[in-house]
Amino acid sequence: MNKVRDNILVENTLKGDVNAFEELVSSYQGRILNFLSKMTAAREDAEEITQEVFIKVYNNLYKYNSKWSFSTWIYRIAVNTLRSEYRKVKKAKDIDYYASIPELPASFSDYPDIAYEIKEKRVEIIKIIDQLKEDQKTALLLRCMQDFSFSEIGDILGISPEAAKMKIQRAKQTVIRKYEELQERGKVK
């Protein structure tokens, strides 16, 4: 996220340079789509909302307050668009969705035994994440995927940095606890 570059692109867009906007789209579409596809159940919904987010960004760009960094602004629009579209989109991820989740490289963990175990259970963990309360899930994903600070996440969600931190903390605790429960039950069987 390059703030200076973003601001130049915003400025140029507002001067009528559509290519500058196209560049903004190129640099943010992957991140926004990634976020939205994890928040929604269907790829088509995620793509559609992504498009809608960028159209809103464009139409409202003149109101963008440069006190905000562009990246928090666009995520805030994404979160809000998602909320307003929530009624329309498919909610529950189905079997197909989980079946199509690609395998992660095992390198995510330094400990091979655990990496192996978790890889086996990855669909279960993703289901646990999906079952989190929406605001916790949003905060968790923003934190993990973008390395946003607590105060930036607070800005995106319209809450205080402390509240954002708390949500992320809760989300992480829940995921771990639920996974532990799952693992315990597996043992008994």
Binding site: K15, N34, K56, N60, T81, I129, D135, Q173, Q183
Partner: protein, 472 residues
């Protein structure tokens, strides 16, 4: 095996929030504790899952670029939305005496001719550089002056300029609007510079130009305004980094209010200097919005009696609005300016509707469908009768019982620019604010109703009812 680590420790470990020593302790512990290793692993997995990107199909960008109006911000198209946020408060032709309107318009048109500019030049970026003076709410279909009017050259024109003076804390500059006369032969840049040397109208502000400074020449070319100043500018500078910054940005910000100036280059007696006193001086300076302050809202620029009248009228307004008593409300509406209705925080002098106090009483019964600007986000026109608009964008919450009422201070800004102070620099406003209704929304459903008042013949009158909410 005994485990004395908490889940919090593991979380902090993954977030790199611990000291080196603690990190080491945990790393060692993980070797031997499967439970903690598992917790750590789940957190690692969550992070990689979140980061793992998915390919974006080409069609996403294609669809976006096809859906947007590519000429929305182009020079050719007059986009009224965001331009000239800080344009002078424009009087709506609907209610202004026609003569006043014609005057304002023709002056501005002359200004354009004079400077060889098109009125809607490309400076749409109201956020960063805001052009100063040209009217924008020339609603189609309303009386526009004869073309011949605008071609008539007048020897002296009246113009509104925005100049920035130093504040008393010496940490910022504050805008003041002035009406000045610009002769046919004189340069607007010079007029602004001379204005900056005068004593400001507002208490607590001061001129930042070192005494005795003379403006030798001024030339604007390619967006850069070059000022050649006499040596007093350096010799009599009060010194200090802060004072210096105020001097420079008082000049730079005032000049960059002009639509065709983006940067300012300083010269001293015909020479470029490497440094002023502290600041690097051999390159042109851009505008600095950060240094602009607003006047202290509680400054004693209003007498106790006047304040009482303001508060009284505010109380009566919100009550009348709640009771839908338009007759009562009309009594408080500005007799000349009428009252503007703004659907969103960002007041749009181009598309917001303004009604006179005479029109107001019968409006709730009116069947006429008005265009109230555009819905935030979609950009679709808001087409509603007055009564429908009222329920949606005026009194959609019980603002009379607001959680908080701010005076001249915005309670919640959202991510759009609240431009009340730019549009109504002389006005005072009350912000009736709710922080949110549904706890699930975490405050994203905050709502505000802002009532803006202006003084006229010693009384405070309602000039704007602006609705604020998180929208896009």
């Amino acid at each position: 095996m005994k485990c004395n680590l908490s889940l919090e420790d593991i979380i902090k470990y993954t977030e790199n929030q611990l000291s080196d020593e603690d990190n080491k302790r945990i790393r060692e512990h993980l070797q031997s504790c499967e439970k903690c290793r598992r917790q750590y692993g789940v957190l690692n997995f969550t992070e990689s899952y979140a980061k793992e990107s998915i390919p974006v199909s080409e069609s996403v960008k294609k669809n976006i670029m096809e859906a947007i109006d590519v000429s929305r911000y182009s020079k050719e198209k007059k986009f009224l939305g965001g331009r000239l946020n800080r344009a002078m408060p424009v009087i709506k032709p609907v209610l202004a005496a026609a003569a006043v309107f014609v005057l304002v318009f023709s002056v501005a048109t002359n200004y354009d001719n004079l400077r060889g500019l098109v009125s809607n030049n490309g400076s749409v970026g109201g956020v960063i550089s805001s052009p100063g003076i040209s009217p924008q709410n020339t609603n189609a279909g309303l009386a526009t002056p004869d073309a011949t009017d605008s071609e008539t050259q007048q020897p002296v024109e009246k113009k509104t300029i925005t100049v920035y003076y130093g504040n008393s804390n010496a940490d910022g500059v504050v805008a003041e609007k002035r009406e000045v006369e610009v002769g046919k032969e004189s340069q607007i840049e010079r007029v602004i510079f001379e204005e900056l040397q005068k004593t400001p109208k507002t208490d607590g502000l001061h001129s930042t130009i070192p005494t005795g400074t003379k403006l030798i020449s001024v030339v604007t070319d390619g967006g850069i305004c070059t000022l050649d100043l006499s040596k007093e500018f350096v010799d009599n500078s009060p010194g200090g980094t802060a004072g210096e910054a105020m001097t420079l940005y008082s000049i730079i910000n005032s000049l960059t209010e002009l639509p065709d100036i983006n940067k300012v280059q300083f010269m001293i007696e015909g020479q470029k200097q490497e440094v002023y006193i502290h600041a690097v001086f051999d390159e042109p300076f851009g505008r600095n919005e950060g240094i602009i302050k607003t006047q202290d809202v509680n400054a004693t620029d209003i007498t106790e009696e006047s304040l009482k009248n303001l508060e009284e009228n505010n109380k009566n307004s919100i009550q009348a609005i709640k009771e839908k008593d338009m007759k009562k409300l009309a009594e408080i509406v500005h007799p000349v300016k009428g009252v503007r209705f703004s659907a969103y925080s960002h007041i749009d002098t181009g598309s917001d509707l303004v009604f006179t106090k005479e029109q107001l009483p019968s409006l709730l019964e009116s069947e006429v469908v008005y265009a109230w600007g555009a819905y935030d986000g979609t950009g679709d026109p808001i087409k509603l009768t007055f009564a429908q608009y009222y329920d949606k964008f005026v009194y959609d919450r019980d603002f009379a019982k607001a959680e908080k009422v701010g005076f001249n201070k915005i309670q919640q800004e959202g991510n759009t620019i609240v431009n009340i102070k730019e549009v109504y620099p002389e006005g005072k406003f009350f912000d009736f604010y709710f922080s949110g209704f549904n706890p699930d929304y975490e405050g994203l459903d905050w709502a505000s109703l802002r009532l803006v008042f202006e003084e006229y013949n010693g009384q405070w009158y309602l000039v704007c009812i602006a609705h604020g909410q998180w929208t896009i």
